[in-house]
Symmetry: C2
Subunit: 325 residues, 2 copies
């Protein structure tokens, strides 16, 4: 439906975020990077404080049948910390708000929080406070704070930039598909890698800090490369071209064997799989760090564009919308 | 059940908070005030940063039949800001994580966020970021950040301190009871005051800042005076005595007429009503601000104690446990 239509639009994630951002737009004016980026940035006594919050809700973002409670806690923390990585921020502290369903036991709470604490230690981002409430399903809402000398926004991409991939895409989505299709049995190394990518993602904080020194823009790929590349294009007012040839070279090796087994292409997992927490970064070719792989380029124009081997171009679409799924 | 019992304890709020705090205790060591207080405190470049998060979950903390969506948003924000008031902190910024049920419309989201934005403006605490997710019920999780020259903890009460009440207690609980018993019709001024106290609480930020200059300890009374006075006693390692004679003088006038209609005493609403967001503060008699009313005293000893007119003493018990309700 068109944005100008008279009938009420269905409330999908894009529309919900648009209304949310509009409601609070006035109050954030003059504060620098605000609503709509991976994290907000505040100036505080000569420091730049980076803040973000992420919620993981049972039956929306995870199923307890697909992972242990330790995994749920670990993953929820890393998902929030990943937004700090995308901003090039150094973690400072976190808060955790838990909603626990009736019948959730003390032992279960210990396992959930053990996973959170393990992730917090790994990220050097202590959980210093929180909230526990009763609710219909398990949910873990994590606020993380960090500091950044030069925070990276989505909006800084420029024509002429390369598009870089930091970390891996596709494997976590394949891990989820294996679980959904009950094809995760056996001792296959590729299966194990995919399940680990899905259950135990790691926020790329060190690489985020390193890349922030040279990059122009960044986003974390939690919703699939296609959707998040488009977000950089929109925020930066330029065209982001993802090149099939370049992306193929950057795909994780285990994904190739798994994709066939799952009846989807490896590229499809990379572009629309979600759950990855890799970083998409843009910056000048001469400054590309060794750990960053070139997967495309920025040009004058608009939108996210997919460039297959034949050199044609079509709009990037798709991605993983937790809100409407 | 005893803490030493072998059978698993039922997971009530106290036990959940104990397990939560234990899980993250290691990571917060050396950071000053941490888990278990109204908010956490971090040192950052010469400033003291105060952080807290609060969740309001449908059917646990509110019913949409009892208030408008604007009220839900307004109240959720004030509930979180009230923890800053209790710490004597000046608001800096907030994040809002919303969980929206299927069928929640764009118009409904606008009303919810309008209430949040109104409260944020009133508190001079802009909402600078957030998260929107799908979930089974409506929930509003608010993170607030502030700064404090000298943060007030629960743990600073000393024998010899007076116990002060800042703001009003009992009226919001009476407002909730009126709604639950469907006795909220008509144009009665007392009813209107109680409904407003319940639906539109206000974090006492200015008074919190003023009292922080002289007080030793503070807490916000979100769960009823009895429970929260006991929390100060436990955290401070002293006895907190609430005096019936003194508390009676501090009760809001409309509460008297409403209590009879609702079949409970005004004191009962004040002690166990919850939903108030007043502050309980301890400090030296000579420094009591004019807006603070004396309702008791701190002594050597342990626990929260109720002192009726006859001068006897019994342990303070009760309060509003959202977790097991």
């Amino acid at each position: 439906m068109s944005a100008r239509g008279r009938a009420p639009r269905r409330l999908d994630e894009t529309e919900a975020v648009r209304l949310f951002s509009r409601a609070f737009a006035t109050s954030t004016r003059g504060l620098g990077i605000g609503i709509g980026d991976d994290a907000a940035v505040l100036a505080l006594g000569g420091k730049r404080l980076v803040l973000t919050v992420d919620a993981q809700v049972e039956h929306t973002h995870f199923e307890r049948s697909f992972m242990t409670l330790e995994d749920v806690g670990f993953r929820a923390f890393q998902a929030a910390a990943s937004d700090l990585a995308a901003m090039g921020a150094r973690p400072l502290a976190a808060l955790s708000a838990l909603t626990l369903p009736r019948g959730f036991s003390g032992r279960e709470l210990e396992r959930l929080t053990a996973g959170q604490a393990e992730a917090a230690r790994g990220c050097r981002c202590p959980i210093v406070g929180g909230n526990v409430a009763r609710g219909p399903v398990l949910s873990v809402t994590t606020t993380v704070l960090g500091t950044a000398a030069r925070p990276l926004a989505r909006s800084g991409a420029r024509p002429g930039d390369e598009v870089w991939l930091v970390g891996e895409v596709g494997l976590a989505g394949a891990g989820l598909a294996l679980l959904q299709q009950r094809k995760h049995g056996g001792r296959d190394g590729a299966v194990a890698a995919a399940l680990a990518a899905f259950r135990r993602p790691r926020a790329l904080l060190t690489r985020g800090l390193a890349v922030a020194r040279v990059a122009h823009a960044a986003i974390d790929v939690s919703d699939g490369l296609a959707l998040d590349a488009g977000r950089i294009a929109r925020a930066s007012g330029c065209r982001v071209v993802l090149e099939e040839r370049a992306l193929e070279r950057a795909l994780p090796r285990p994904l190739m064997s798994l994709a066939g087994r799952l009846g989807r292409s490896a590229l499809d997992f990379a572009l629309t799989g979600g759950e990855d927490y890799a970083l998409v970064v843009t910056g000048p070719a001469r400054d590309r760090p060794r750990f960053a792989r070139r997967i495309g380029r920025c040009e004058r124009g608009r939108g996210g564009v997919w460039e297959p081997h034949d050199g044609s171009a079509r709009p990037l679409a798709g991605g993983f919308d937790h809100f409407s799924s």
